[in-house]
């Protein structure tokens, strides 16, 4: 029927037989994007099924290394310790990390240093950063989270002694959970992927710069990170086709809906 027709039209012989399953193990920040990309890809190749697993950046890396998944997706730079796997990296998008606070908080602007101090636990009261006299409720992501990895690295919360996030931080296991906690807990502050930002929480300006795509692309907004796709060794035809699709104009357009395209 129709599938054959369109394949003939495109006149690309391999696509006619393109079928199989692609398993992507993605960090929660890359998961929605991967699902969108996967869905679009499947529209083009109905015989292919793209399965996107939730998980974390490390699991993305590990899954790719273990070949549990065809593609691992990480929302941070590959760590030194992970380089040994010898994975191929593809930066598919960029994402900013928004520092968000409960909408009732009065603080609009924070410096990188203030952010660092708040998350290290040196500043515990909003009054120290120009807010009202209320204790700061810090909300962080769990150990191993890509967002957390990127955030602590960029903001300097990670120092010579490693990740120094205050022990008094509430920990939530996903971007959504952080957002929900910050939205519901007075005097709280957290960080989430810019793509997930909505009006339930308030994003603060960092060093006076608003968290927007433009500001990230022009490098004025400092807290941003890459989204990586990782593969292990030779990839199958169908995975390669998927990667090609991601970097195609159509793929990057999908990226652009929530994140920052790389091409």
């Amino acid at each position: 029927g129709g599938g054959q027709e369109s394949a003939a039209e495109n006149n690309v012989p391999e696509e006619e037989t393109l079928s199989g399953t692609i398993i992507i193990a993605a960090s929660t920040s890359v998961q929605p994007l991967s699902e969108e990309l996967g869905a679009a890809f499947m529209d083009q190749y109905p015989e292919v099924s793209v399965e996107v697993q939730g998980g974390g950046s490390s699991v993305g890396v590990k899954s790719a290394a273990d070949k549990v998944a065809d593609i691992g997706a990480a929302s941070r730079e590959i760590k030194e310790s992970e380089k040994s796997y010898g994975l191929d990296e593809y930066v598919i998008a960029k994402d900013g990390i928004a520092v968000v606070e409960n909408p009732d908080c009065g603080v609009d602007d924070l410096t990188m240093e203030q952010i660092q101090k708040i998350f290290i636990g040196e500043v515990t009261n909003w009054s120290a950063v120009g807010g009202s006299d209320a204790e700061i409720v810090v909300v962080s992501r769990e150990e191993g989270s890509g967002t957390r990895g990127a955030f602590v690295e960029i903001t300097g919360v990670e120092g010579d002694d490693g990740d120094m996030t205050t022990a008094n931080a509430l920990v939530q296991p996903s971007t959504g959970a952080v957002k929900q906690t910050v939205a519901n807990t007075p005097d709280s502050i957290g960080y989430i992927s810019l793509g997930a930002l909505d009006n339930t929480v308030k994003a603060v300006r960092v060093e006076g710069v608003e968290a927007t795509n433009e500001n990230i692309l022009n490098n004025s907004y400092k807290i941003a990170r890459p989204f990586n796709y990782l593969t292990n060794g030779e990839v199958s035809e169908v995975v390669q086709a998927y990667l090609d699709f991601v970097f195609s104009a159509e793929g990057q357009e999908i990226v652009g809906q929530e994140f920052i395209p790389v091409k």
């Binding site: 939730g54 549990v68 939205a183």
Partner: protein, 295 residues
Amino acid sequence: MTNYEETMELVSLNDNSRKKYYWKNHLFYIFIYLMAAITILVLVAIIGYILINGIGHINWEFLTSEPRSMGREGGIFSIIIGTLYLTVVAIAVSAPIGVLAAVYFAEYAKESKWVKTIRFGTEVLAGIPSIIFGLFGFTFFVIFLGFRWSILSGGLTLSMMILPTLIRATEEALKTVPQSYREGSLSLGATKWQTIIKVILPSCLSGILTGLILGIGRAVGETAAVMLTAGSALGLPESLMDPARTMSVHLYILASEGLSKEKTFATASLLIILVLLINTIASKVVQRFINKAKA
């Protein structure tokens, strides 16, 4: 005579030597009634809160359409299917093993050290927390056996989890079969196995069914172990090797990420209704059996 009335009646008597006791009596009953009332209230509060907020959002569309944008929109069709598959696999694997194991314990096992050991092993399995099952399923089925995150991995993990429940329920059911049935059958020259298959198992079928239904309930409600073994992919599973997301996992994700209050409540309500249904069926089965036995 109701007990509270009895107490009150006694309190009204003017008997000095027992005054102290009446006072204690009062406190005792107040405490008991209060605690019972709190428990019931909590039950009503939880179920009521969730159903009131959720039941309005359950409709045909919700049940039959695919979830979109991580469940923020759309329905939960693929999740219902995933739950179904996973439960079926879990039951299909554990039911025969569980029932036969129970038959062994109830009909064959002699009280030896060895039998005590495997009994203890069964009890231990029942006590292992689900997250440990999850860890195990992850290293064993997902990685070691290479089943990946799949209905198979999840189903096998779940079947291990519900095995003790099944064994226990079946064994209890077998114990209720009067010894006289066994004697009657054996005295007619039936072998032990014939006796079990033709007389004993049929006469405690409902007990076994109840066990199965309880097992299903547990499988449907499990979250942690399923997440680590069957994954949490949203797609419609098509084979045993596909990953799946169950309703409990979906509810967890919706709740923790705050994706959509409305869908969260709807999913929670559906889960409660499902459990209610499962419980009712279980007790109906038992009731029918009792009626049949009486007739």
